[in-house]
């Protein structure tokens, strides 16, 4: 199928989006039991009767998760329910221990909010329908078969460490009026939400680890028509770039189907990172009926107004506000600030500064060398194997004169390559600038002795000729000498003035 171009699609149709974002909260324990939530633990090592759904087990609500939910709701300008319940969402799947998910249905803890996002300097308001609490499922790995899904697999492995990890699902109202900017608005919304979640400190919201996952609903309607078209739901779009690509692809795909006189099927779709397309999920024979009903094993959650106001008082500076402040502090142009934001570097730079690096150095490393590496590897900056503290250390070594920029880049390469922290890499690779005057003096003497002609020229006042000797010394010290210092030494020894 040849896709209609994006421009042609937008010429005839108006896209409407709905975004559902799941955020795994960074609580120490699970939503309904005391099990640890450490990422990457041995499979099925962080489980108990409750999160395994053993007969007789019961849930108890994690108070920290409720607090996080309320803070997220407040930060999204939502109303907070005075009284709300959990509900059971009933469906069978092997990675769900009870074969129902404890979630919230018609009584979410937070509702009716909004989040302002900026696209090309313009503010776009995304209305929030609701934010509710629920538990994550376990994780299935399907072995054998072509698709990596349960159908056709030889066998499946189940890890229930993730089962019961607290999730907040944030659902937007239909996002209308974004027009051709719909994909960018979607991306900006998810990016802004991620910033907000991080600023609240309730989750690291690392999409590449599945800590934040986005489902994107897209529908098209002929321009000028009120009624929404049929939507498709693209599941688990797991990077900012993918959100934008998936929305864009779905707009083109819908337009193509509609232009050929076809109808859009309401279905879930899977996004493919490699070619940026989506394909239909398994077609269900009948509509899923989750048979929601209030969870009888839990008592209602009733956040007192005083507590809610107390939490409102603890909200951090919101990302948008902070961005404006940072831009002013750093004296960046809009354009420069935009590149920092696009690179997802603002937190990393701030953390690097917090770890002791000068602001311009922190920005230089993240926006320069590290952005280049991230681009090469096709990953987000935050996914690089280097921490802000390590970048700050590299910067400190440059400031104290132990490294020059060239050596510092080698240190970063070593850290990214898993050779250890900056000091370890310096040590292992022997990268420290040679500042030992004795060793340097010997190297200079040797260079002068080896190049008598050049030395004579310098003695005669041809200072420019010193470059050749500096080069020889640098070569001899494998680049680990401070070139300026070497030049001074040469001139000094040959009685010439710089």
């Amino acid at each position: 199928m040849d896709l209609v171009s994006y421009e042609d699609a937008l010429a005839s149709y108006d896209p409407v989006m709905g975004l559902e974002v799941h955020v795994e909260l960074g609580t120490n324990t699970k939503m309904f039991c005391g099990c640890a939530t450490t990422f990457g633990a041995e499979p099925n090592s962080q489980v108990c009767p409750t999160c395994l759904g053993l007969p007789g087990s019961l849930p108890v609500v994690n108070a920290t998760a409720v607090e996080s939910a309320v803070r997220i709701g407040l930060a999204l300008n939502c109303e907070i329910a005075e009284w709300c319940r959990f509900a059971r969402k009933n469906y069978f799947y092997p990675d769900m221990p009870k074969n129902f998910q404890t979630s919230q249905y018609d009584e979410p803890i937070a509702f009716n909010g909004y989040l302002d996002v900026e696209v090309d300097g313009e503010t776009f308001r995304v209305e929030i329908e609701r934010a509710h609490m629920e538990e994550d499922t376990g994780k299935s790995t399907h072995v054998g078969g072509a698709t990596g899904r349960i159908h056709g697999a030889d066998h499946s492995l189940l890890d229930y460490n993730r089962a019961g990890i607290p999730l907040i699902e944030i659902v937007t109202k239909p996002i209308e009026g974004a027009g051709e900017r719909a994909p960018e608005v979607a991306k900006a919304y998810v990016a802004e939400l991620r910033e907000l979640i991080r600023a609240l400190g309730v989750s690291e919201a690392r999409m590449e680890l599945g800590q934040m996952r986005c489902d994107a609903n897209v529908s098209l309607r002929p321009i000028g028509r009120e009624k929404y078209g049929t939507r498709s739901e693209t599941k688990n779009v797991n990077s900012l770039r993918s959100v934008e690509r998936a929305v864009r692809f779905e707009i083109q795909r819908h337009a193509t189907v509609l232009k050929e006189g076809g109808t859009i099927v309401q279905e879930t779709r899977h996004f493919h990172e490699d070619d940026g397309t989506t394909t239909a999920g398994r077609v269900k024979e009948e509509a899923e009926d989750y048979r929601y009903f209030p969870e009888p094993d839990l008592v209602p959650v009733a956040p007192s107004r005083d507590w809610v106001e107390e939490l409102r008082g603890t909200l951090p500076e919101l990302p948008r506000v902070r961005r404006r402040r940072v831009q002013a502090d750093w004296g960046l142009s809009d354009h420069e600030m935009q590149s920092v934001l696009n690179a997802g570097a603002i937190d990393l730079i701030l953390e690097t500064i917090d770890a002791g690096a000068p602001a311009d150095a922190a920005r230089k490393w993240w926006m320069g060398e590290l952005s280049r590496r991230a681009n090469e590897d096709g990953v987000e900056l935050s996914a690089l194997a280097i921490t802000p503290t390590e970048v700050a250390r590299v910067s400190a070594l440059v400031v104290e004169g132990s490294l020059n920029d060239k050596l510092a880049r080698q240190v970063i390469e070593g850290v990214l390559g898993g050779e250890g922290d900056p000091d370890t890499v310096v040590e292992k690779r022997g990268l420290r600038i040679v500042s030992d005057e004795g060793a340097l003096g010997t190297a200079v003497d040797e260079a002068i002795a080896a190049n008598p002609g050049v030395a004579d020229k310098i003695r005669d006042g041809k200072v420019a000729a010193a470059g050749a000797l500096v080069g020889a010394v640098m070569k001899a010290t494998r680049g680990q000498a401070d070139a300026a210092r070497v030049k001074d030494l040469i001139l000094e020894k040959l009685g010439a003035q710089g």
């Binding site: 053993l54 019961l58 108890v60 069978f92 074969n99 009903f293």
Partner: protein, 497 residues
């Protein structure tokens, strides 16, 4: 000592504490009794000989060291097979959990162990506590010690039969719609459904979460009170557990006085469907209360007539969800895992083979009642009825201290009589269900034998939420007066096995 199996729990505990006997002797006597009669009665699904003797030995050791013993230390108990027991099979009367050894103790199990109660084993029950006769057990029916061809009530028929046949002086039941009280009534024993939330449900394999409540079963009101105090109390692992002091039930049982109390007779629990002998014994019990100094009035609770249909929507709805976890993936039965079936098929085959007909009937009922488009008409309406029933109780308890009624409309019916007629079976819980829907406390205790069949009749006492002590106060007064009138406890009239 004379026959240790004939002692009450209070007497047994006293005898152990004073050294007149040892906990091991008591346990051995009961294990011997089980060996002698349980082949006929079939009260137990699993007898934990080893565990019982170990627990008894620990009590004796404690005493030998001069440590103080709890009020029920060394007393044997029959535990309904619906509570998890670490290392001991827990089947819930179902094939689907055959062979499952729980890795954890229910809170109730833990409390019993900590109190030095000696758990003899796990008792038979209707599968997943769904039934009123114990005929729905996947492991065969239990006989009523009064007449082995009759039902011992249900779902906790194993526990009531164990008490009535002197295999244990104490037992644990769970009451979702009457599963403690109806078996107590038809076996001439005492059973209490405490206020919902009084006894932790952690480790109670759920049938209907908003209705299930564990409670004490015994041969005397005082024994039930002693057990009540051991098992009740707040549990952080059960969100619906009540965080308040347990009412002083033992004190109330020792007081046993109804003078000046106002007692209401529920008008709706009489008439059509009630066995004449049951009504007669109930009227005599009411008369007795009057003689003991209570003021008796008639109370109408009109919404109680909708309790049964509301219950049969709410309980199956919750059950359909609670029982979804039995999918063959993690524990219990697994059918069709032969590399030719998908996971989905293995789940379906296992559930088809592992659940009995009544469980399947209720799963289907509940699934239907919760379906989109039907939810409001069924589950939603039933919740409204529940509210009305709670309001009727509240109005009634504005006027009286406790309500009384027959526990069950008839005496024990013959095994097989209602097996193919679920509606007739459901009627057994007509008088008990309202208290489950409203969450308040209720007790059943013997009030005589029906003249027409010579079988026990139960008197139900109903108290407001968290006023469980009133049950014991009234119950022990009635028990004392009847025992004096009969010259002995009612159970002594049961045929010897």
């Amino acid at each position: 000592m004379s026959d240790l199996t004939r002692l009450t729990a209070a007497e047994t505990a006293e005898a152990v504490a004073s050294g007149k006997t040892s906990a091991v002797e008591v346990a051995e006597a009961h294990l011997a009794r089980i060996d002698a009669v349980d082949e006929k009665v079939h009260a137990f699904l699993h007898v934990d000989r080893e565990g019982a003797l170990t627990a008894a030995r620990a009590v004796d050791d404690k005493r030998a060291k001069g440590e103080t013993l709890g009020p029920l230390a060394g007393v044997p108990l029959a535990l309904k097979d619906v509570f998890t027991t670490r290392g001991i099979p827990t089947t819930v009367g179902s094939k689907i959990l055959e062979g499952w050894i729980p890795p954890y103790d229910a809170t109730l199990t833990r409390r019993l162990k900590e109190a030095g109660v000696v758990i003899l084993g796990k008792t038979n029950m209707d599968e997943f506590a769904m039934g009123s006769s114990t005929e729905n057990s996947a492991y065969g029916p239990t006989g009523n010690p009064w007449d082995l061809t009759r039902i011992p009530g249900g779902s906790g028929g194993g526990s009531s039969a164990a008490l009535a046949s002197y295999q244990a002086p104490l037992a644990i039941g769970t009451d979702t719609g009457g599963s403690i009280r109806q078996p107590a009534a038809v076996t001439g024993t005492v059973g209490v459904k405490p206020t919902y939330g009084a006894v932790s449900r952690y480790g109670l394999v759920a049938f209907s979460s908003s209705l299930d409540q564990g409670g004490p079963c015994a041969r005397t009101v005082l024994d039930a009170a002693l057990l009540h105090e051991v098992i009740a109390g707040h549990d952080a692992l059960d969100s619906t557990s009540i965080d308040a002091p347990v009412p002083a039930v033992v004190e109330a049982a020792k007081l046993g006085n109804v003078k000046g109390m106002r007692i209401g007779v529920v008008k709706e629990f009489s008439g059509e469907g009630y066995q004449p002998g049951v009504e007669q014994r109930f009227r005599e019990a009411v008369e007795l209360l009057r003689e003991l100094g209570a003021e008796v009035v008639e109370i109408s609770c009109p919404s109680f007539t909708y309790a049964l249909p509301a219950y049969y929507l709410i309980a199956p709805s919750e059950a359909s969800s609670n029982l979804a976890r039995f999918d063959a993936m993690r524990y219990g039965l697994r059918v069709g895992d032969d590399a030719t079936h998908s996971a989905e098929e293995v789940t379906a085959l296992t559930r088809a083979a592992g659940f009995g007909p009544e469980v399947k009937r209720r799963i289907m009922l509940g699934t239907y009642a919760l379906s989109s488009g039907y939810y409001d008409a069924y589950y939603g309406q039933a919740q409204k009825v529940r509210t009305l029933i709670t309001q009727d109780f509240a109005r009634a308890f504005d006027q009286v201290d406790v309500l009384v009624s027959p526990t069950t409309p008839t005496t024990a019916f013959p095994i097989g009589e209602r097996a193919d007629d679920p509606m007739a079976m459901y009627l057994a819980d007509l008088c008990t269900i309202p208290s489950n829907l409203a969450g308040n406390a209720a007790m059943s205790l013997p009030c005589g034998l029906a003249p027409e069949d010579g079988l026990p009749v139960g008197l139900q006492i109903i108290a407001p939420t968290m006023a469980d002590d009133r049950l014991y106060r009234v119950g022990s007064a009635v028990e004392a007066a009847f025992t004096a009138r009969w010259g002995h406890p009612l159970l002594e009239e049961a045929p010897s096995l």
